[in-house]
Amino acid sequence: MTRPFVFEKPLGMRDTLPLLYDLKTSIREKIQHVTETWGYRFMNTPTLEYYETVGEASAILDQQLFKLLDQRGNTLVLRPDMTAPIARVAASSLKKEPFPLRLAYDSNVFRAQEDEGGKPAEFEQIGVELIGDRTTSADAEVIALMAAVLKEAGLEDFQIAIGHVGFIQELFLSIVGNEDRAAVLRRYLYEKNYVGYRQHVREMPLSTIDQKRLMGLLTLRGDGSKLNDAIELLPTEAGERVLDELRTLLQTLEAYGVADQVKFDFTLVSHMSYYTGVVFEGYANDLGVPLSNGGRYDELLSRFDRPAQATGFGIRLDHLAEALGLTGEEKLPDAIIFSPERRSEAIQQASERRAKGEKVVIQELSGITNLDEYSDRFDDVVYLIGKNGKGTL
């Protein structure tokens, strides 16, 4: 490659300039506050992990991992998500702590670089993991918490789509009989290729009723009434169990007061094999990509030798910031511009005002090249110039 220009950054990397930084900080603080009030404890893990452990266990596809080698030749990944590292910690350092564990994180995660804009290779994610709790109350809790933090962050218009991987799996197995054939159908849904799905279903040697059931899955989207349609597609014990679970979930979300934001979508398949039960995604109007996603992952912890059922969500802070918009004016600090003989006075005034929480810059006059341009960058400017009293220019 050609030598980069001095201002260039590696592909997919972004700067966070002050205005965006302020917005992100304010979002971050609100979300952290709410999450803490729900009893979740924040934690951090290292940026680099082994490819063989966290890399392979994570929900992120292999080709999306950002890989590198360490000096000893181990393959490392820049952490692609926080769920797998937290599972590693829950199964090791926090092994003595009893389940259920409520943990939270706010970290930058990494994905393989992509040529196209709008797909950064590094972005901040805030989320929670509720580990060691198999109940539907746990599923509802993380969904309700996600809704609560989005609301607190200032997002008024958002929606959450809820699906259930277990339902899809039971439906497919009850019709096509084995996992291999179910996986083919699941892949069409995962690839969002409904045309291919329908064609595949039409070509399978199935009864008309079974074909109808498979086709019907694609239209299982909407409010709670869709749960009744769902049972017609899967009138088995397993189907009844999943739907009971979803009814309880909906009731619990009603109790949390977030049922209005929620819709069911049985076609939601966000991963080929990682999730095991309820899955969900959060959307903001006028943002073309999901804000957040999550779901139940009951197999992950066993990869770290502490089998446990778990659920959680992650919110992409960059997408959330985009949804909220950089509308706010930058809150400008005040300035005290002084000449050397009144330096101590300036320091004195500034520390008093800073103690009250005001933002105050002190700047010696001779350090400024263009006073007009410079003072425009402040809300209010006080001049401490000359030997006596409050001098002005």
């Binding site: 290729n193 109808k212 086709m215 959307y283």
Partner: protein
């Protein structure tokens, strides 16, 4: 308001006709406008006119809620969008063609195409090692003047091939236009999109999606 990304050119007229049949009231001057953005207020729909290859890009990024794109473009671009309905318009197919049907001679077989991903995937699946040369049009020229041994392109009637002395050497897959949907719009504008899919599929299939055919 629903934003639809439409492909300019060949597919456009067929797509407009399909929407009219589905009961969307599109003004008669609609077809020959040169504007890139057209608002149809009575339907609360905005059309954006894009290069066919770019339609899935607009839809993936969410600046268009839905779009009409050829399956060839979907295969090439592999965008994160829902492929909801086969509109069964603008039918053609992807094929390999060359000067003769015989084995490819030369140091390294070269394939010229507008679809480097499709071509590369196809030959990989065939277990053949080839080198791809990306062109932007008049692909038929490549074997004639010795740039490549074969081409991968869409074929509708085969006339361009025969007129240039080329023959089809392999069929890759059939192509039609698809109705594609942004994953977020699919949830946040579900009512209006489901209605559109229902009406379009009624025209295409002569029946609803629920019906098994």
């Amino acid at each position: 308001m629903l934003t639809i990304a439409m492909p300019k050119g060949r597919i456009f007229e067929e797509a407009v006709e399909l929407l009219r049949q589905a009961g969307y009231k599109l003004p008669p001057e609609f077809d020959d406008s040169r504007k890139l953005i057209l608002d149809i207020e009575e339907e609360n729909i905005r059309f954006i006119l894009a290069k066919p290859m770019d339609v899935p890009t607009y839809v993936e990024h969410g600046v268009a809620d839905v779009g009409i794109a050829g399956k060839d473009v979907m295969l090439e671009e592999e965008r994160n969008v829902y492929e909801v309905l086969d509109l069964k318009i603008s039918g053609c197919y992807l094929a390999v063609a060359g000067l003769s049907d015989g084995p490819i001679k030369g140091v390294a077989p070269k394939i010229a195409t507008k679809y480097p991903n499709v071509a590369s995937n196809y030959f990989r699946e065939q277990g053949e090692q080839v080198e791809i040369i990306k062109l932007n049009g008049s692909i038929e020229l490549a074997p004639l003047i010795g740039l490549a041994d074969r081409i991968v392109d869409i074929v509708s009637t085969g006339r361009t091939l025969t007129e240039n002395g080329l023959m089809e050497t392999a069929f890759i897959e059939p192509i039609t236009s698809r109705f594609i949907v942004n994953p977020v719009s699919y949830r946040t504008k579900d009512a209006i999109i489901d209605d559109m899919v229902e009406r379009l599929s009624a025209v295409v299939e002569g029946g609803s999606l629920d019906e098994n055919r």
